[in-house]
């Protein structure tokens, strides 16, 4: 597991160092990729972490998709490179067109930070190695805009192509079909609202994110 992971930092990103910490704790290596620099520094995988890229102004991820690094991330993804978008990163990936759908405000119109149980719906992706469909894990969520929506035909495709990665067992935000995370057709680009990096320490309450990050590090 000698993976080098690039963790994208936009102005306003705030989970970049948590993500790097979690990756390093699990034996990977990670470094920051500054949004204004198109170079991916030859990393083996990319994480777009949580936070508020460009303040989430206009709309979550709407400005971030224009940051110079995103063109390189898109090319990397189209080449099969592993790309994981966590929370704000998921929003950025949908805005950038690397994943379908959009994340709108939670039903209830409140920010939500809480532990949430999610179920593996598909393991044919960069997070699924070592897990089984139906596995239920506890991973915290932390978002205002996590309510996944997409057009009916795209939704049908997600369902039939095995692109739904996680569903909430107790939907906190009104997300369509309880969707908590999805992937592209090849399974190398995953976006998820819950934060696996926040579930890598027993002292902090859960280690259920460990398997996901370990899978990502060997993808």
């Amino acid at each position: 597991m000698s993976h080098r992971v690039g963790v994208v930092r936009f102005p306003g990103t705030n989970c970049e160092f948590d993500t790097i910490d979690a990756i390093r704790t699990l034996g990977g290596d990670a470094e920051v990729l500054w949004h204004a620099d198109p170079s991916l520094k030859k990393v083996d995988a990319v994480v777009i972490p949580g936070g508020f890229a460009h303040g989430d102004y206009l709309r979550c991820g709407a400005i971030a998709r224009f940051s110079p690094v995103m063109e390189s991330v898109a090319a990397f993804a189209l080449n099969g490179g592993p790309v994981l978008g966590i929370c704000n990163g998921f929003q950025v990936l949908t805005e950038a067109g690397l994943l379908p759908g959009a994340l709108q405000k939670n039903v209830g119109m409140k920010f939500l930070c809480s532990m949430q149980q999610i179920e593996f719906v598909s393991t044919e992706n960069i997070l699924g190695k070592g897990s089984t469909v139906g596995d239920c894990i506890n991973i915290p969520i932390n978002h205002f805009e996590g309510n996944f929506v997409c057009p009916p035909e795209a939704l049908a495709e997600l369902e039939t192509q095995g692109q739904i990665v996680f569903r909430y067992t107790d939907n906190p935000n009104g997300s369509t079909r309880d969707i908590a995370g999805i992937c592209n057709k090849d399974g190398n680009v995953v976006g998820m609202m819950p934060h696996p990096e926040r579930a890598t320490s027993a002292l902090l309450g859960s280690t259920d994110g460990t398997a996901l990050i370990q899978s990502f590090l060997t993808a």
Partner: protein, 743 residues
């Protein structure tokens, strides 16, 4: 000598008294011009100068070997070992939040974070003790929802977790909510920076947002006067600043990078009184002077007057003092973070603060920098206890509509509706977050990230009911409660910060409350070996001349020395003995100052139950040690609502009930004797634990046994847990969940 300015209405409109004007005249030996007057008015405001409280604050203990920076700087700083220092501060944003709840709270968070990174520390935690009018009042609901959204909206976005706080609803805060915010940051001990300007020729660089017309006179017009019916709303709204968390986030990262690279010799945030405060404070702390060029200030709009530029409280700005050879690199880092940077000042050697229009241009104001601080007035305002104090204390506060089950259902309230809106996990430190007694964060080195195997604990506490009945003893009990809270997560106290929220200092009774509270706090802080390292005083919390109940809020920071496992939760495990530690209250305990007396009995008088501070110190030590050694199955501090509410919260947490013996009367259930803790120990460890408690001179008694699906206080008082849980969990969503009626 009597001074007759041409138009006395000018200084009065700025909030300066005639005597204060005269004092300025004496200092300058001439009449001040309008700009100078505006600068004095903000710096000599109650908010900035502490002119009414300073004389009392001197009685607080502030020293200990681990204190690196005490009160008076932007934040207190303590040494926590392993080359790590911790900066901590608490502030109020009460008045802005009363008229513009979202922005008032948001800018309160922004302001205190700048206080922390001003010291060179990365802010890692925010706590928000909040107090609002009753939930059945529509305007209070509007304020509560706005304030909570403001803390959430700003705090989450700026990227600092909100890890705890308080939530109180009471009639006393109906026109005047209390929005206090505590922030804590960590820094490598060797990097401590002070807000000083020194070195003649050094540059003062204004970083961050452009200066606009928002918040002009915020500290004087808004924060240092009470509310009345006419001015409550619209008039003062332009004095509230508007926050931009994204600007703050970039400013924070840029400043920390400047500090990391050693590019600044001093740095100061711009809060109340804006550029006037930042330039004069840095200059006078450094024993220097400064030339400030108002034309260099990047402003938001054309045509701003010099006094507007000098007193604006526009948010998200910092002033860095930089040696000229570092200027280029400072500008580079600012550009990387998309932060505007303007050289607006030069450090001079003559002690004068000169405001110029262009560095070689017209002199608009000139005054000795130190006079804005050191010569601020200090008042020994009249003090008098309320006339009817003795009579009030004789009142029996135990009378009222007693229905133990219904009373309990009325008093339980799950605050998770609030803290779910806050990111409380960022930075991967939160071992115990909001919803328990104390907050516990693992302590890691701020630059290497290395774990220390230790934890930092935080708690904020206040109790206006106790402090109204008896501000001296009430404040002692508040400090003890805060210490007990961190003991419940295994920590011993290191230091205290305080936010003294009181009414109008021109009322002798308010000054009596303040003075008594300071004395009570001093005594408790000495007993707990915890100096006060910083604080904030918020006065004029009144509506239509009615003062709020005195509300000193304390934040306690403590240390868990051996953090390898999470401390026990508050939740009851099944089938174990339930113990009460601490002073025995007895069946005749006074109900004065209890939530039961105020909210159910409708009585605000009476006297507090007796309080044994020395035993509270021993109890806290026993609890902390027992938590550290993993001897407890559950632990929870007994606070407002007494034993009944405490054990109810424990039962709700895990869905496991308990049976208590002899607690089936409202006095035993709801009295609020201080310094008590409920613990559950494994049955086979009971004897040993009781023995240890006896050795440590802590009263310990088995009061019941856990288990079952209901909570019994004796043969006649029994509540099913599902009923109790629903009452607790539904309260806030029912009142606030579906949006609120606009006021």
């Amino acid at each position: 000598m009597s001074v007759a300015p041409e138009d006395a209405s000018v200084h009065r409109a700025l909030g300066l008294s005639d005597e204060e004007y005269e004092h300025i005249y004496e200092l300058l030996e001439r009449h001040p011009n309008h700009l100078e007057l505006a600068m004095y008015s903000v710096m000599w405001s109650e908010h900035c100068s502490y002119k009414s409280s300073k004389i009392h604050l001197k009685r607080l203990p502030t020293d200990a070997p681990w204190v690196l920076v005490g009160p008076g700087e932007n934040a207190g700083v303590i040494d926590v070992g392993d080359d790590i220092a911790v900066a901590i501060r608490i502030e109020s944003h009460n008045h802005p939040s009363a008229i513009e709840p979202y922005q008032g709270a948001a800018t309160g968070v922004g302001g205190i974070l700048r206080d922390i990174f001003t010291m060179g520390a990365r802010p890692i935690a925010v706590m928000d003790p909040l107090r609002f009018g009753p939930l059945d009042d529509p305007r209070s609901r509007w304020i509560a929802e706005g304030v909570i959204s403001g803390v959430s909206g700003y705090g989450n976005s700026v990227g600092v977790p909100t890890v705890g706080g308080e939530l109180v609803f009471d009639e006393t805060y109906k026109g005047n909510p209390l929005v206090n915010v505590l922030a804590m940051g960590v820094l490598p001990a060797e990097r401590l920076v002070l807000g000083q300007a020194s070195g003649v020729g050094n540059l003062a660089i204004l970083l961050g947002a452009s200066t606009g017309r928002d918040g002009i006179g915020g500290v004087s017009v808004l924060a240092s006067a009470g509310f009345d019916e006419n001015s409550e709303d619209a008039d003062k709204r332009p004095s509230v600043q508007v926050g931009d968390p994204f600007e703050e986030k970039r400013l924070l990262e840029a400043c920390l990078e400047l500090l990391d690279e050693g590019l600044v010799s001093g740095i100061q945030d711009l809060g109340g009184a804006g550029i006037t405060c930042a330039t004069s404070e840095t200059a006078s702390r450094g024993g220097a002077g400064m030339d400030v060029d108002v034309s260099a200030i990047h402003s938001r709009e054309e045509g701003m007057e010099p006094f507007e530029l000098m007193t604006s409280e526009s948010q998200e700005r910092m002033l860095a003092i930089v040696e000229p050879q570092h200027l280029e690199r400072v500008l580079e880092i600012s550009a990387q973070w998309e932060i505007t940077a303007s050289v607006i000042g030069r450090v001079t050697g003559n002690g004068q603060l000169r405001i110029l229009n262009g560095f070689d241009g017209e002199v608009l104001a000139e005054l000795p920098a130190s006079t804005l601080h050191d010569d601020a007035p200090e008042y020994d305002r009249p003090i008098a206890p309320p006339d009817d104090l003795d009579q009030r204390r004789l009142t029996d506060a135990s009378q009222g509509p007693v229905d133990c089950v219904e009373n309990l259902l009325a008093l339980v309230c799950d605050p998770s509706w609030v803290y779910r809106q806050y990111d409380h996990q960022l930075f991967l430190n939160t071992v115990v977050g909001p919803g328990s007694d104390g907050t516990l964060l693992r302590l890691r080195h701020p630059t290497s990230g290395n774990e220390t195997g230790r934890g930092l604990a935080l708690s904020t506490d206040g109790n206006h009911r106790w402090c109204y009945v008896d501000p001296y003893q009430g404040t002692k009990m508040v400090v003890a409660e805060a210490v007990m809270n961190i003991a419940c997560v295994g920590a011993y106290p290191l230091a205290v910060v305080n936010c003294l929220n009181f009414g109008n200092p021109e009322h002798p009774e308010v000054m009596w409350q303040l003075s008594e509270a300071v004395d009570g706090m001093s005594e408790a802080c000495i007993a707990f070996n915890s100096p006060v390292v910083g604080g904030n005083v918020s006065l004029y919390n009144e509506t239509n001349t009615v003062d709020i109940a005195p509300t000193p809020v304390v934040g306690v920071i403590g240390m868990h020395p051996t953090l390898s496992e999470p401390p026990p939760s508050i939740g009851l495990p099944p089938d174990s003995p339930l113990l009460l530690l601490g002073q025995e209250a007895g069946p005749d305990a006074s109900m004065g100052g209890s939530r039961w007396a105020w909210e159910i009995g409708g009585c605000k008088d009476g006297s507090l139950p007796t309080f044994d501070l020395a035993q509270a110190v021993r109890t806290a030590a026993l609890v902390a040690e027992s938590v550290q050694k993993q001897r407890l199955e559950a632990v929870h501090d007994v606070g407002e609502g007494g034993i009944a509410v405490a054990v109810a919260e424990m039962a709700i947490e895990t869905g496991v009930g308990a049976r208590l013996d002899g607690y089936d009367n409202h006095i035993s259930m709801f009295n609020e004797s201080g310094g008590r803790v409920l613990v559950v120990v494994p049955s086979d460890a009971l004897e040993e634990f009781l023995e240890e408690a006896a050795n440590k001179k802590v009263t310990a008694q088995v009061i019941g046994r856990t288990g079952g699906s209901s909570l019994e206080f004796g043969p006649t008082v029994k509540v099913p847990l599902d009923v109790l849980t629903a009452a607790s969990r539904n309260k806030l969503p029912e009142a606030l969940g579906q949006g609120t009626i606009s006021a």
